[in-house]
Amino acid sequence: MSTVVLLAVTGLGLGALYFLVASGLSLIYGLMGVLNFAHGSFLTLGAFAGFELTRRLGGDSWPAFVASLVLGAAVGAVAAALTELLLIRRLYERHIEQVLVTVGLSLATVALFEGIWGSDPSYVTAPAWLGETTQLLGARIPNDRFVLIGAAALVLLGIVAFLRFTRFGLIIRAGVENRAMVTALGIDVRRAFTVVFAIGGTAAGLGGVLASHYFGYVSPHLGGSLLIFAFIVTVIGGLGSLAGAAIASVAVGVLQQFANFYWGVGDLVVVLLLAGVLLLRPAGILGKKKVQA
Protein backbone atom coordinates (compact mmCIF):
# COMPACT_ATOMS: atom_id res chain seq x y z
CA MET A 1 0.00 0.00 0.00
CA SER A 2 2.75 2.44 0.99
CA THR A 3 4.53 1.78 -2.32
CA VAL A 4 1.38 2.57 -4.26
CA VAL A 5 0.91 5.81 -2.33
CA LEU A 6 4.56 6.75 -2.85
CA LEU A 7 4.38 6.05 -6.58
CA ALA A 8 1.07 7.89 -6.92
CA VAL A 9 2.30 11.04 -5.14
CA THR A 10 5.69 11.09 -6.84
CA GLY A 11 3.87 10.50 -10.14
CA LEU A 12 1.65 13.46 -9.36
CA GLY A 13 4.78 15.50 -8.67
CA LEU A 14 6.28 14.52 -12.02
CA GLY A 15 2.94 15.26 -13.69
CA ALA A 16 2.96 18.68 -12.02
CA LEU A 17 6.35 19.35 -13.58
CA TYR A 18 5.09 18.29 -17.00
CA PHE A 19 2.05 20.52 -16.59
CA LEU A 20 4.17 23.59 -15.84
CA VAL A 21 5.85 23.13 -19.23
CA ALA A 22 2.84 21.81 -21.15
CA SER A 23 0.40 24.53 -20.07
CA GLY A 24 2.36 27.18 -21.96
CA LEU A 25 2.89 24.94 -24.97
CA SER A 26 -0.80 24.19 -25.15
CA LEU A 27 -1.95 27.80 -24.80
CA ILE A 28 0.58 28.99 -27.37
CA TYR A 29 -0.45 26.36 -29.89
CA GLY A 30 -4.15 26.86 -29.15
CA LEU A 31 -4.11 30.58 -29.83
CA MET A 32 -1.36 30.94 -32.40
CA GLY A 33 -0.85 27.54 -33.93
CA VAL A 34 2.85 27.78 -33.02
CA LEU A 35 4.71 24.62 -32.01
CA ASN A 36 7.33 26.24 -29.80
CA PHE A 37 10.39 24.02 -29.68
CA ALA A 38 12.26 26.75 -27.78
CA HIS A 39 9.93 26.41 -24.79
CA GLY A 40 12.44 24.19 -22.98
CA SER A 41 14.97 27.03 -23.16
CA PHE A 42 12.66 29.26 -21.10
CA LEU A 43 12.62 26.50 -18.48
CA THR A 44 16.40 26.07 -18.47
CA LEU A 45 16.99 29.82 -18.34
CA GLY A 46 14.58 30.16 -15.41
CA ALA A 47 16.34 27.29 -13.65
CA PHE A 48 19.78 28.85 -14.11
CA ALA A 49 18.48 32.25 -12.97
CA GLY A 50 17.09 30.64 -9.80
CA PHE A 51 20.33 28.71 -9.32
CA GLU A 52 22.45 31.87 -9.58
CA LEU A 53 20.23 33.77 -7.17
CA THR A 54 20.22 31.07 -4.49
CA ARG A 55 23.98 30.68 -4.90
CA ARG A 56 24.44 34.39 -4.22
CA LEU A 57 21.90 34.60 -1.38
CA GLY A 58 22.94 31.42 0.40
CA GLY A 59 20.87 28.62 -0.97
CA ASP A 60 19.39 26.89 2.05
CA SER A 61 17.10 29.67 3.27
CA TRP A 62 13.38 29.91 2.51
CA PRO A 63 13.55 33.57 1.38
CA ALA A 64 16.24 32.62 -1.14
CA PHE A 65 14.14 29.69 -2.35
CA VAL A 66 11.03 31.83 -2.77
CA ALA A 67 13.05 34.60 -4.45
CA SER A 68 14.52 32.05 -6.86
CA LEU A 69 11.00 30.91 -7.81
CA VAL A 70 9.93 34.50 -8.46
CA LEU A 71 13.07 35.29 -10.44
CA GLY A 72 12.85 32.07 -12.47
CA ALA A 73 9.23 32.84 -13.37
CA ALA A 74 10.06 36.46 -14.27
CA VAL A 75 13.05 35.50 -16.40
CA GLY A 76 10.97 32.86 -18.19
CA ALA A 77 8.24 35.44 -18.86
CA VAL A 78 10.64 38.04 -20.25
CA ALA A 79 12.51 35.50 -22.40
CA ALA A 80 9.26 34.18 -23.83
CA ALA A 81 7.79 37.63 -24.51
CA LEU A 82 11.01 38.71 -26.27
CA THR A 83 11.01 35.52 -28.34
CA GLU A 84 7.46 36.27 -29.48
CA LEU A 85 8.13 39.93 -30.21
CA LEU A 86 11.48 39.53 -31.96
CA LEU A 87 11.20 36.18 -33.73
CA ILE A 88 7.76 34.59 -33.83
CA ARG A 89 5.69 37.69 -34.65
CA ARG A 90 7.15 37.90 -38.14
CA LEU A 91 6.39 34.25 -38.82
CA TYR A 92 2.69 33.76 -38.07
CA GLU A 93 1.05 31.39 -40.56
CA ARG A 94 4.54 30.30 -41.69
CA HIS A 95 4.69 27.03 -39.82
CA ILE A 96 7.84 25.56 -41.34
CA GLU A 97 9.79 28.72 -40.56
CA GLN A 98 8.38 28.73 -37.01
CA VAL A 99 9.65 25.22 -36.44
CA LEU A 100 13.05 26.06 -37.92
CA VAL A 101 13.43 29.21 -35.83
CA THR A 102 12.30 27.67 -32.55
CA VAL A 103 14.42 24.55 -33.06
CA GLY A 104 17.36 26.80 -33.96
CA LEU A 105 16.78 28.96 -30.91
CA SER A 106 16.60 25.87 -28.73
CA LEU A 107 19.94 24.56 -30.06
CA ALA A 108 21.58 27.98 -29.84
CA THR A 109 20.47 28.57 -26.25
CA VAL A 110 21.72 25.14 -25.14
CA ALA A 111 25.12 26.07 -26.63
CA LEU A 112 24.91 29.45 -24.90
CA PHE A 113 24.09 27.85 -21.55
CA GLU A 114 26.99 25.41 -21.99
CA GLY A 115 29.25 28.36 -22.74
CA ILE A 116 28.21 30.16 -19.57
CA TRP A 117 27.63 27.35 -17.05
CA GLY A 118 29.46 24.43 -18.66
CA SER A 119 27.94 21.14 -19.74
CA ASP A 120 28.22 19.47 -16.31
CA PRO A 121 25.29 19.60 -13.91
CA SER A 122 25.22 22.52 -11.50
CA TYR A 123 23.95 21.21 -8.17
CA VAL A 124 21.36 23.28 -6.36
CA THR A 125 20.91 23.85 -2.65
CA ALA A 126 17.56 24.25 -0.97
CA PRO A 127 15.95 24.60 2.45
CA ALA A 128 16.54 21.39 4.42
CA TRP A 129 12.80 20.62 4.61
CA LEU A 130 12.64 20.13 0.83
CA GLY A 131 15.14 17.26 1.07
CA GLU A 132 13.24 15.55 3.88
CA THR A 133 10.20 13.28 3.73
CA THR A 134 6.72 13.34 5.19
CA GLN A 135 4.75 10.27 6.24
CA LEU A 136 1.52 9.86 4.23
CA LEU A 137 -0.62 6.71 4.50
CA GLY A 138 2.46 4.73 5.44
CA ALA A 139 4.62 6.11 2.63
CA ARG A 140 7.51 8.50 3.09
CA ILE A 141 7.00 11.19 0.46
CA PRO A 142 9.82 13.59 -0.50
CA ASN A 143 8.64 17.07 0.49
CA ASP A 144 9.64 18.69 -2.79
CA ARG A 145 6.83 16.71 -4.49
CA PHE A 146 4.27 18.54 -2.37
CA VAL A 147 5.78 21.86 -3.40
CA LEU A 148 5.66 20.84 -7.07
CA ILE A 149 2.05 19.71 -6.85
CA GLY A 150 1.05 22.87 -4.97
CA ALA A 151 2.86 25.11 -7.46
CA ALA A 152 1.25 23.40 -10.46
CA ALA A 153 -2.18 23.64 -8.82
CA LEU A 154 -1.63 27.36 -8.17
CA VAL A 155 -0.47 27.92 -11.75
CA LEU A 156 -3.52 26.04 -13.08
CA LEU A 157 -5.87 28.08 -10.87
CA GLY A 158 -4.07 31.29 -11.78
CA ILE A 159 -4.29 30.65 -15.52
CA VAL A 160 -7.94 29.59 -15.27
CA ALA A 161 -8.78 32.73 -13.27
CA PHE A 162 -6.86 34.86 -15.76
CA LEU A 163 -8.68 33.30 -18.71
CA ARG A 164 -12.08 33.56 -17.04
CA PHE A 165 -12.01 36.95 -15.35
CA THR A 166 -9.83 39.25 -17.46
CA ARG A 167 -10.39 40.84 -20.88
CA PHE A 168 -7.13 39.36 -22.14
CA GLY A 169 -8.41 35.99 -20.97
CA LEU A 170 -11.63 36.52 -22.89
CA ILE A 171 -9.64 37.44 -26.01
CA ILE A 172 -7.45 34.37 -25.63
CA ARG A 173 -10.40 32.00 -25.17
CA ALA A 174 -12.12 33.49 -28.21
CA GLY A 175 -8.88 33.50 -30.20
CA VAL A 176 -8.35 29.79 -29.57
CA GLU A 177 -11.73 29.22 -31.28
CA ASN A 178 -11.51 31.70 -34.15
CA ARG A 179 -8.61 34.13 -34.32
CA ALA A 180 -9.79 35.90 -37.50
CA MET A 181 -13.16 36.73 -35.96
CA VAL A 182 -11.50 38.22 -32.91
CA THR A 183 -9.57 40.53 -35.23
CA ALA A 184 -12.80 41.32 -37.08
CA LEU A 185 -14.22 42.62 -33.80
CA GLY A 186 -11.51 45.30 -33.75
CA ILE A 187 -9.11 43.55 -31.38
CA ASP A 188 -5.36 43.50 -31.96
CA VAL A 189 -4.89 39.83 -31.26
CA ARG A 190 -1.10 40.13 -31.50
CA ARG A 191 -1.02 41.68 -28.01
CA ALA A 192 -2.75 38.57 -26.72
CA PHE A 193 -0.03 36.51 -28.47
CA THR A 194 2.66 38.26 -26.43
CA VAL A 195 0.68 37.82 -23.22
CA VAL A 196 0.21 34.10 -23.90
CA PHE A 197 3.90 33.63 -24.58
CA ALA A 198 4.69 35.48 -21.33
CA ILE A 199 2.25 33.29 -19.38
CA GLY A 200 3.79 30.16 -20.87
CA GLY A 201 7.29 31.47 -20.12
CA THR A 202 6.30 32.24 -16.52
CA ALA A 203 5.06 28.70 -15.94
CA ALA A 204 8.13 27.25 -17.67
CA GLY A 205 10.56 29.43 -15.68
CA LEU A 206 8.84 28.47 -12.44
CA GLY A 207 8.91 24.85 -13.55
CA GLY A 208 12.62 25.20 -14.28
CA VAL A 209 13.45 26.22 -10.71
CA LEU A 210 11.24 23.45 -9.29
CA ALA A 211 12.69 20.91 -11.73
CA SER A 212 16.19 21.81 -10.53
CA HIS A 213 15.11 20.89 -6.99
CA TYR A 214 13.29 17.75 -8.20
CA PHE A 215 16.41 16.47 -9.98
CA GLY A 216 18.89 18.18 -7.63
CA TYR A 217 20.75 19.98 -10.39
CA VAL A 218 20.48 22.29 -13.40
CA SER A 219 22.02 21.45 -16.74
CA PRO A 220 21.80 23.07 -20.18
CA HIS A 221 19.73 20.08 -21.36
CA LEU A 222 17.19 20.19 -18.52
CA GLY A 223 14.50 21.96 -20.56
CA GLY A 224 15.03 19.83 -23.66
CA SER A 225 14.57 16.56 -21.80
CA LEU A 226 11.36 17.74 -20.14
CA LEU A 227 10.07 19.31 -23.36
CA ILE A 228 9.73 15.92 -25.05
CA PHE A 229 7.32 14.69 -22.37
CA ALA A 230 5.57 18.06 -22.25
CA PHE A 231 4.86 17.78 -25.99
CA ILE A 232 3.53 14.27 -25.48
CA VAL A 233 1.30 15.54 -22.67
CA THR A 234 0.10 18.43 -24.83
CA VAL A 235 -0.81 16.13 -27.70
CA ILE A 236 -2.53 13.59 -25.43
CA GLY A 237 -4.49 16.35 -23.67
CA GLY A 238 -5.49 17.99 -26.94
CA LEU A 239 -3.50 20.86 -28.45
CA GLY A 240 -4.89 24.11 -27.07
CA SER A 241 -6.72 22.60 -24.10
CA LEU A 242 -5.44 23.66 -20.69
CA ALA A 243 -7.71 21.19 -18.88
CA GLY A 244 -6.58 18.47 -21.28
CA ALA A 245 -2.94 19.30 -20.52
CA ALA A 246 -3.64 19.04 -16.77
CA ILE A 247 -5.39 15.67 -17.07
CA ALA A 248 -2.74 14.28 -19.43
CA SER A 249 0.10 15.52 -17.20
CA VAL A 250 -1.26 13.61 -14.23
CA ALA A 251 -1.96 10.50 -16.31
CA VAL A 252 1.50 10.49 -17.90
CA GLY A 253 3.37 11.26 -14.67
CA VAL A 254 1.61 8.60 -12.60
CA LEU A 255 1.69 5.96 -15.34
CA GLN A 256 5.38 6.61 -15.97
CA GLN A 257 6.23 6.20 -12.27
CA PHE A 258 4.31 2.93 -11.90
CA ALA A 259 5.64 1.47 -15.15
CA ASN A 260 9.20 2.43 -14.23
CA PHE A 261 8.95 0.93 -10.76
CA TYR A 262 7.32 -2.38 -11.69
CA TRP A 263 8.69 -3.06 -15.19
CA GLY A 264 11.32 -0.39 -15.85
CA VAL A 265 9.55 0.70 -19.03
CA GLY A 266 8.08 4.09 -18.06
CA ASP A 267 9.05 5.90 -21.26
CA LEU A 268 7.80 3.06 -23.47
CA VAL A 269 4.43 3.07 -21.71
CA VAL A 270 4.10 6.82 -22.24
CA VAL A 271 4.76 6.44 -25.96
CA LEU A 272 2.23 3.58 -26.15
CA LEU A 273 -0.32 5.78 -24.36
CA LEU A 274 0.35 8.53 -26.90
CA ALA A 275 -0.13 6.10 -29.79
CA GLY A 276 -3.35 4.74 -28.26
CA VAL A 277 -4.84 8.20 -27.72
CA LEU A 278 -3.91 9.30 -31.25
CA LEU A 279 -5.54 6.19 -32.69
CA LEU A 280 -8.74 6.51 -30.68
CA ARG A 281 -9.00 10.31 -30.38
CA PRO A 282 -6.69 12.00 -32.90
CA ALA A 283 -7.47 15.46 -31.48
CA GLY A 284 -6.47 14.35 -27.97
CA ILE A 285 -8.58 13.88 -24.83
CA LEU A 286 -10.13 17.36 -24.83
CA GLY A 287 -8.93 18.68 -28.18
CA LYS A 288 -11.37 20.35 -30.56
CA LYS A 289 -11.41 20.98 -34.25
CA LYS A 290 -10.07 24.50 -34.71
CA VAL A 291 -11.43 27.26 -36.96
CA GLN A 292 -8.46 28.46 -38.94
CA ALA A 293 -7.74 32.13 -39.43
Partner: protein, 241 residues
Protein backbone atom coordinates in the same frame (compact mmCIF):
# COMPACT_ATOMS: atom_id res chain seq x y z
CA UNK B 1 -26.32 65.01 -51.83
CA UNK B 2 -24.42 63.42 -48.92
CA UNK B 3 -21.03 61.90 -49.73
CA UNK B 4 -20.97 58.09 -49.67
CA UNK B 5 -19.72 56.51 -46.46
CA UNK B 6 -17.71 53.84 -48.26
CA UNK B 7 -16.01 54.22 -51.63
CA UNK B 8 -14.59 51.10 -53.23
CA UNK B 9 -12.36 51.72 -56.22
CA UNK B 10 -10.73 48.92 -58.20
CA UNK B 11 -10.82 46.41 -55.36
CA UNK B 12 -9.30 43.03 -56.19
CA UNK B 13 -8.86 40.08 -53.87
CA UNK B 14 -7.18 36.71 -53.93
CA UNK B 15 -7.60 33.57 -51.87
CA UNK B 16 -4.76 31.05 -51.97
CA UNK B 17 -3.41 32.78 -55.05
CA UNK B 18 -6.70 32.63 -56.95
CA UNK B 19 -8.43 35.85 -58.05
CA UNK B 20 -11.89 35.99 -56.44
CA UNK B 21 -12.68 39.69 -56.82
CA UNK B 22 -11.53 41.69 -59.83
CA UNK B 23 -11.40 45.48 -60.02
CA UNK B 24 -14.69 46.01 -58.23
CA UNK B 25 -15.85 49.61 -57.80
CA UNK B 26 -18.98 50.82 -56.03
CA UNK B 27 -20.15 53.13 -53.29
CA UNK B 28 -22.19 52.67 -50.15
CA UNK B 29 -24.58 55.55 -49.49
CA UNK B 30 -24.32 57.46 -46.23
CA UNK B 31 -27.83 56.41 -45.30
CA UNK B 32 -29.95 53.32 -45.79
CA UNK B 33 -29.03 49.91 -47.11
CA UNK B 34 -26.90 49.09 -50.13
CA UNK B 35 -27.33 45.45 -51.17
CA UNK B 36 -24.47 43.55 -52.77
CA UNK B 37 -26.10 40.86 -54.89
CA UNK B 38 -25.14 38.12 -57.30
CA UNK B 39 -25.35 34.41 -57.90
CA UNK B 40 -23.57 31.98 -55.61
CA UNK B 41 -19.80 32.15 -55.83
CA UNK B 42 -19.50 35.49 -57.64
CA UNK B 43 -17.38 37.02 -54.87
CA UNK B 44 -19.84 38.83 -52.58
CA UNK B 45 -18.46 37.41 -49.33
CA UNK B 46 -14.91 37.79 -50.64
CA UNK B 47 -15.61 41.46 -51.36
CA UNK B 48 -16.78 42.01 -47.78
CA UNK B 49 -13.78 40.13 -46.41
CA UNK B 50 -11.44 42.09 -48.68
CA UNK B 51 -12.92 45.38 -47.46
CA UNK B 52 -12.03 44.27 -43.93
CA UNK B 53 -8.56 43.09 -44.90
CA UNK B 54 -9.36 39.52 -43.93
CA UNK B 55 -8.04 38.29 -47.28
CA UNK B 56 -5.24 39.51 -49.55
CA UNK B 57 -6.50 42.54 -51.44
CA UNK B 58 -5.48 45.46 -53.65
CA UNK B 59 -7.28 48.64 -54.65
CA UNK B 60 -8.56 51.75 -52.96
CA UNK B 61 -11.12 51.80 -50.17
CA UNK B 62 -12.22 54.98 -48.43
CA UNK B 63 -14.27 55.07 -45.26
CA UNK B 64 -15.85 58.47 -44.59
CA UNK B 65 -13.23 60.07 -46.84
CA UNK B 66 -10.18 58.33 -45.36
CA UNK B 67 -8.26 55.48 -46.94
CA UNK B 68 -8.44 52.22 -45.04
CA UNK B 69 -7.07 49.77 -47.61
CA UNK B 70 -3.60 49.78 -46.07
CA UNK B 71 -4.83 49.19 -42.52
CA UNK B 72 -4.93 45.86 -40.68
CA UNK B 73 -8.37 44.44 -39.94
CA UNK B 74 -8.58 45.49 -36.31
CA UNK B 75 -7.74 49.11 -37.18
CA UNK B 76 -10.42 49.17 -39.89
CA UNK B 77 -13.01 47.87 -37.44
CA UNK B 78 -11.90 50.36 -34.78
CA UNK B 79 -12.67 53.17 -37.24
CA UNK B 80 -16.30 52.17 -37.03
CA UNK B 81 -16.91 49.18 -39.27
CA UNK B 82 -19.29 46.64 -37.77
CA UNK B 83 -19.17 43.17 -39.27
CA UNK B 84 -21.71 40.37 -39.27
CA UNK B 85 -20.04 37.40 -40.98
CA UNK B 86 -21.64 34.73 -43.09
CA UNK B 87 -22.33 31.66 -40.90
CA UNK B 88 -22.48 33.83 -37.73
CA UNK B 89 -19.09 32.79 -36.34
CA UNK B 90 -20.13 33.22 -32.72
CA UNK B 91 -17.64 32.00 -30.15
CA UNK B 92 -19.30 28.75 -29.16
CA UNK B 93 -17.31 28.29 -25.96
CA UNK B 94 -18.15 31.76 -24.65
CA UNK B 95 -21.46 32.80 -23.14
CA UNK B 96 -23.78 35.22 -24.92
CA UNK B 97 -22.71 37.98 -22.52
CA UNK B 98 -19.04 37.22 -23.14
CA UNK B 99 -19.55 37.31 -26.93
CA UNK B 100 -21.06 40.78 -26.58
CA UNK B 101 -18.49 42.00 -24.05
CA UNK B 102 -15.70 40.89 -26.36
CA UNK B 103 -17.20 42.96 -29.18
CA UNK B 104 -17.52 46.14 -27.13
CA UNK B 105 -15.03 48.80 -28.22
CA UNK B 106 -14.69 51.02 -25.14
CA UNK B 107 -16.36 54.37 -25.63
CA UNK B 108 -17.97 53.17 -28.88
CA UNK B 109 -20.10 50.65 -26.99
CA UNK B 110 -23.21 52.80 -26.84
CA UNK B 111 -25.63 50.28 -28.28
CA UNK B 112 -26.28 48.01 -25.30
CA UNK B 113 -29.81 49.36 -24.80
CA UNK B 114 -30.63 48.95 -28.50
CA UNK B 115 -29.39 45.34 -28.42
CA UNK B 116 -31.46 44.59 -25.32
CA UNK B 117 -34.51 46.15 -26.98
CA UNK B 118 -34.09 44.33 -30.31
CA UNK B 119 -33.08 40.97 -28.86
CA UNK B 120 -34.60 40.56 -25.37
CA UNK B 121 -34.02 36.83 -25.72
CA UNK B 122 -30.28 37.43 -25.57
CA UNK B 123 -30.66 39.22 -22.25
CA UNK B 124 -32.50 36.20 -20.86
CA UNK B 125 -29.82 33.88 -22.21
CA UNK B 126 -26.83 36.04 -21.24
CA UNK B 127 -25.20 33.27 -19.23
CA UNK B 128 -25.83 30.53 -21.80
CA UNK B 129 -23.03 29.19 -23.96
CA UNK B 130 -23.38 30.61 -27.49
CA UNK B 131 -22.67 27.18 -28.93
CA UNK B 132 -25.85 25.82 -27.38
CA UNK B 133 -28.11 28.43 -29.04
CA UNK B 134 -30.29 27.78 -32.08
CA UNK B 135 -29.19 29.11 -35.47
CA UNK B 136 -31.55 32.08 -35.19
CA UNK B 137 -30.34 32.95 -31.71
CA UNK B 138 -26.72 32.70 -32.86
CA UNK B 139 -27.54 35.11 -35.68
CA UNK B 140 -28.98 37.52 -33.12
CA UNK B 141 -25.68 37.31 -31.18
CA UNK B 142 -23.74 37.93 -34.38
CA UNK B 143 -25.84 40.99 -35.28
CA UNK B 144 -25.84 42.21 -31.68
CA UNK B 145 -22.02 42.17 -31.67
CA UNK B 146 -22.10 44.71 -34.50
CA UNK B 147 -24.91 46.82 -33.06
CA UNK B 148 -23.41 47.08 -29.57
CA UNK B 149 -20.97 49.70 -30.88
CA UNK B 150 -21.49 53.06 -32.53
CA UNK B 151 -20.39 52.40 -36.13
CA UNK B 152 -19.85 54.37 -39.31
CA UNK B 153 -21.02 51.49 -41.50
CA UNK B 154 -22.13 47.89 -41.05
CA UNK B 155 -21.01 45.06 -43.34
CA UNK B 156 -23.60 42.31 -43.04
CA UNK B 157 -23.13 39.04 -44.87
CA UNK B 158 -26.14 36.77 -45.47
CA UNK B 159 -27.89 37.43 -42.15
CA UNK B 160 -30.92 35.28 -42.99
CA UNK B 161 -29.06 32.30 -44.38
CA UNK B 162 -30.47 29.03 -43.07
CA UNK B 163 -33.06 30.67 -40.81
CA UNK B 164 -36.74 29.77 -40.42
CA UNK B 165 -39.17 32.25 -42.11
CA UNK B 166 -40.37 33.68 -38.79
CA UNK B 167 -36.82 34.32 -37.63
CA UNK B 168 -36.01 35.86 -41.02
CA UNK B 169 -38.68 38.47 -40.37
CA UNK B 170 -37.29 39.20 -36.89
CA UNK B 171 -33.80 39.62 -38.31
CA UNK B 172 -35.06 41.83 -41.15
CA UNK B 173 -36.95 43.99 -38.67
CA UNK B 174 -33.83 44.36 -36.51
CA UNK B 175 -31.76 45.35 -39.55
CA UNK B 176 -34.40 47.86 -40.65
CA UNK B 177 -34.19 49.39 -37.21
CA UNK B 178 -30.39 49.48 -37.36
CA UNK B 179 -30.46 50.98 -40.86
CA UNK B 180 -32.29 53.99 -39.49
CA UNK B 181 -29.14 54.98 -37.61
CA UNK B 182 -26.22 53.54 -39.58
CA UNK B 183 -25.66 52.78 -43.28
CA UNK B 184 -25.43 49.10 -44.18
CA UNK B 185 -23.73 47.14 -46.94
CA UNK B 186 -25.79 43.97 -47.08
CA UNK B 187 -25.07 40.69 -48.83
CA UNK B 188 -28.32 38.80 -49.05
CA UNK B 189 -29.79 36.01 -51.18
CA UNK B 190 -33.36 36.44 -49.97
CA UNK B 191 -34.81 38.95 -52.42
CA UNK B 192 -37.84 39.57 -50.26
CA UNK B 193 -35.53 40.81 -47.52
CA UNK B 194 -33.59 42.83 -50.09
CA UNK B 195 -36.81 44.41 -51.31
CA UNK B 196 -37.77 45.18 -47.72
CA UNK B 197 -34.46 46.77 -46.75
CA UNK B 198 -32.36 47.92 -49.67
CA UNK B 199 -32.38 51.32 -51.33
CA UNK B 200 -29.55 50.63 -53.75
CA UNK B 201 -28.18 47.45 -55.27
CA UNK B 202 -24.80 46.47 -56.67
CA UNK B 203 -24.71 43.21 -58.63
CA UNK B 204 -21.55 41.16 -59.05
CA UNK B 205 -20.82 38.56 -61.68
CA UNK B 206 -17.56 36.62 -61.86
CA UNK B 207 -15.94 39.00 -59.42
CA UNK B 208 -16.97 42.16 -61.35
CA UNK B 209 -19.74 44.73 -60.93
CA UNK B 210 -22.28 44.27 -63.72
CA UNK B 211 -25.13 46.41 -62.43
CA UNK B 212 -25.70 49.22 -59.92
CA UNK B 213 -28.76 51.33 -59.26
CA UNK B 214 -31.94 51.68 -57.21
CA UNK B 215 -33.19 48.45 -55.66
CA UNK B 216 -36.66 48.83 -57.12
CA UNK B 217 -35.19 49.26 -60.60
CA UNK B 218 -33.75 45.77 -60.42
CA UNK B 219 -36.33 43.92 -58.36
CA UNK B 220 -39.28 45.25 -60.37
CA UNK B 221 -37.69 44.16 -63.62
CA UNK B 222 -38.25 40.44 -63.72
CA UNK B 223 -36.19 39.85 -66.86
CA UNK B 224 -33.21 41.77 -65.46
CA UNK B 225 -33.43 39.97 -62.11
CA UNK B 226 -33.56 36.63 -63.82
CA UNK B 227 -30.61 37.50 -66.04
CA UNK B 228 -28.40 38.93 -63.29
CA UNK B 229 -29.36 36.81 -60.32
CA UNK B 230 -30.73 33.67 -61.92
CA UNK B 231 -33.97 33.86 -59.93
CA UNK B 232 -37.54 34.92 -60.57
CA UNK B 233 -38.77 37.70 -58.28
CA UNK B 234 -42.48 36.68 -58.25
CA UNK B 235 -41.61 33.13 -57.25
CA UNK B 236 -39.40 34.50 -54.49
CA UNK B 237 -42.32 36.47 -53.10
CA UNK B 238 -44.84 33.65 -53.36
CA UNK B 239 -42.96 30.99 -51.43
CA UNK B 240 -41.49 33.43 -48.96
CA UNK B 241 -37.90 32.65 -49.83
Amino acid sequence: MTAPVLVVDGLSARIAGQQVVEEVSFEVAATGVTALLGRNGVGKTSTIRALLGLIERAGRVELAGERIDQLPTHRIVQRGVGYVPEDREVFAGLTVAENLRLAERGADATGRDLVAELFPELVQRAGQSAGSLSGGQQQMVSIARALVNRNVVLLIDEPTKGLAPLIVQDVAAALARAAATVPILLVEQNLQVVRQLADTVVVLESGRVVHRGPAAGLLDDDALTTRLLGVHTERETEDGR
